[in-house]
């Protein structure tokens, strides 16, 4: 806080204005897309919007989980890093707000209510084996309707964000208040909130992933899906944390505080979750591949071939890109010590991971079945490139600017010190050694 000179403050506030402008432009463009999609019945802008928001949601959820994991383990090295994550949590309410347009369309979209989540509208067309029927006639929806109906869905979505925002509020309060009075009971409160918060947030993110992403193809189901979203979120959050801390060291804010040992530990966690992501993603594929049941396999089939011709589609290369680019390369790269402790080398791989995380979400959200009565199997698989990518990029940038603005505001508000100076573990954290 002491390094703020007046010129620095003006530079920051002008950057903050730019971020807000970026947020308004990006989200505005995304909303134009949604409006246009609503007019023409085009699903693409909605998928793009969901993709753009999900990236930032996954990062925020990852940060929330990391803080709570640090808290329950009472880890001695983490407080310096934890404080930076706590600022990151300030983006949650804004991310929640960004999901609102999708919910509003589901409620008030009339004949287009089912444009993104087809099951919202019982008259939406769907596929059973290869014949076209409506959602209302589909036994696979009828059996799930007790869970997958708009009222309960809305209630759940609101509950998830109340849980995320509530936990964020309490974790921030416990940490920031301790800066002022130094009462160790704040640490106890933080541990208690985390002990309750881990299962609560784990359930929220699991069912959130089911509701928002898996229900895009409501006939498909995978119990691994929530764990996949958790693993992805942690990977992305670790990448952002590493970038943020290295940036703060370069500006002098965390210089001498965030040391090689902290960076090495974060990089090791990154390696661990790279393996975990691969384990989960592969298990999901492996079980469905082994069981070979059509109502499950179609989900992977449309990510590999064009179902009408049986030839490889563009998604095949995206899938291969994920296996080799999102697992094998970062895994082998992060095995080496020097790649973890040399800041430029680590920055390269965490940016790589973030880019592939974005592709992973794209691969999970975008592919789907467009009902096409003339087609051999009754539908066309959505292609890799399309207007969903363009609209998605607008939303991605817009929501990203909004989150960055909220986080910067939290950093600048003076609500907390740079590091939790009165945390009982702070001395150990500063003296952390490999």
């Amino acid at each position: 806080m002491s390094i703020d000179s007046s010129s620095n403050t003006t530079a920051v506030s002008s950057f903050s204005t730019k971020l807000l402008a970026g947020a308004i432009l990006g989200i505005g463009a995304g909303l134009v897309g949604l409006f246009q999609g609503l007019q023409s019945g085009d699903k693409a802008p909605f998928l793009g919007w969901l993709w753009g928001c999900s990236f930032w949601l996954s990062i925020a959820i990852g940060m929330l989980m990391l803080i709570m994991i640090f808290r329950v383990f009472n880890s001695k090295w983490s407080p310096i890093v934890r404080r930076q994550l706590e600022h990151g949590l300030s983006a949650f309410p804004w991310i929640g707000l960004c999901f609102l347009p999708l919910l509003l369309v589901a409620w008030f979209g009339k004949d287009q209510a089912g444009i993104l989540w087809a099951w919202v509208d019982s008259t939406s067309p769907t596929i059973e084996v290869s014949s076209i029927i409506t959602v209302g006639e589909d036994v696979l929806h009828q059996k799930k309707a007790g869970y997958l109906n708009l009222n309960f869905f809305t209630l759940r979505l609101v509950a998830y964000f109340i849980i995320f925002c509530g936990l964020s509020h309490w974790l921030r309060k416990a940490s920031f208040s301790q800066d002022k009075d130094g009462d160790p009971n704040w640490t106890r409160l933080g541990s208690k909130v985390s002990a309750i918060g881990i299962p609560a947030a784990a359930l929220s993110l699991t069912f959130g992933a089911f509701d928002m992403f898996m229900s895009l193809e409501y006939q498909w189901f995978s119990t691994m899906y929530g764990v996949w979203f958790f693993a992805s979120g942690i990977r992305a959050a670790l990448a952002v944390t590493i970038l943020l801390c290295i940036y703060l060291v370069s500006t002098g804010t965390l210089k001498g505080l965030f040391k090689q040992a902290h960076q090495y530990d974060l990089a090791c966690l990154s390696l661990a979750f790279t393996v975990f992501w691969a384990y989960i993603s592969f298990s999901q594929y492996f079980l469905i591949y082994s069981a070979n049941i059509p109502e499950e396999t179609f989900w992977f089939t449309i990510r590999e071939i064009d179902p009408n011709t049986g030839l490889r589609s563009g998604w095949f290369w995206v899938s291969m890109g994920l296996i080799f680019g999102h697992f094998f390369f970062p895994f082998l790269y992060l095995l080496f010590y020097r790649n973890k402790v040399d800041a430029p080398k680590l920055i390269f791989i965490v940016c790589w991971i973030l880019a592939f995380h974005l592709l992973d979400l794209y691969w999970n959200i975008i592919p789907g079945r467009e009902i096409a009565p003339g087609a051999f199997v009754g539908y066309e698989a959505r292609s890799v490139l399309g207007s969903h990518l363009l609209w998605g990029l607008f939303t991605l940038i817009g929501v990203g600017c909004l989150c960055a603005w909220a986080v910067l505001k939290s950093f600048q508000s003076g609500i907390a010190e740079i590091i939790p100076i009165r945390d009982p573990r702070i001395r150990e954290s500063i003296n952390h050694h490999e």
Binding site: F282, Y285, F286, Y289, S290, N292, L335, Y337, H433
Partner: protein, 183 residues
């Protein structure tokens, strides 16, 4: 008892503080000694860097073990299911990198663990049942409140008098020659 033979093993010096050991270790390294060791009752952070130790080479054994395991797993599945006794199980191909992947990766982990364990044994020249320093009375104190530096006779720079003088100069308290009995 006079017919017991012994040979010189090393020169040793004790220190009363971790700082004393740490500073002396830096000087020993600077002096150019290569075959020497520090003994301490507690972990001293940064001592390995002070002694000029590079990072452990165990990870290389781990990586080699892991890669060997991965391809051993592949070889097992390929040999059994595609080459020696082709058998269709659950409609899956004879050989594919997908269905037997758990075998590959379990063997990767197993062999990586073997590599780590046996690599560590190899690099530390274990198992070894005795060591001349165990006979040395000062060695027992390094399990209590003393720190110790031992410079071995094998060191090219070792000299009976100079090394002892040097150890005294860098702050060694009890400086002695350790002798290894032979029977």
């Amino acid at each position: 008892m006079s017919d017991i033979m012994d040979i010189k093993y090393a020169a040793s010096a004790t220190f009363s503080s971790a700082k004393g050991l740490y500073d002396a270790a830096g000087k020993v390294k600077q002096e150019g000694y290569t075959n020497w060791e520090c003994f301490s009752p507690i972990p001293v952070h940064g001592l390995d860097a002070q002694m000029g130790y590079a990072r452990s080479k165990v990870p290389r054994f781990t990586l080699t073990g892991g890669i060997t395991g991965f391809f051993t797993g592949m070889l097992i599945v390929w040999f059994m299911n595609e080459y020696d006794y082709p058998l269709i199980v659950g409609g899956k191909p004879y050989f594919s990198p997908i269905y037997p992947f758990p075998v590959f990766y379990e063997l990767t982990i197993l062999f990586a663990a073997f590599g780590t364990l046996f690599g560590m044994f190899f690099l530390n020249r274990l198992p070894r049942h005795n060591h001349p320093v165990f006979e040395h009375p000062d060695f027992g104190l390094t399990g209590d409140d003393k720190f110790m530096i031992v410079i071995e006779v094998d060191d090219p720079k070792f000299d009976d008098e100079e090394t002892v003088e040097f150890l005294k100069r860098v702050g060694g308290e009890s400086v002695q020659l350790i002798r290894e009995p032979i029977d």
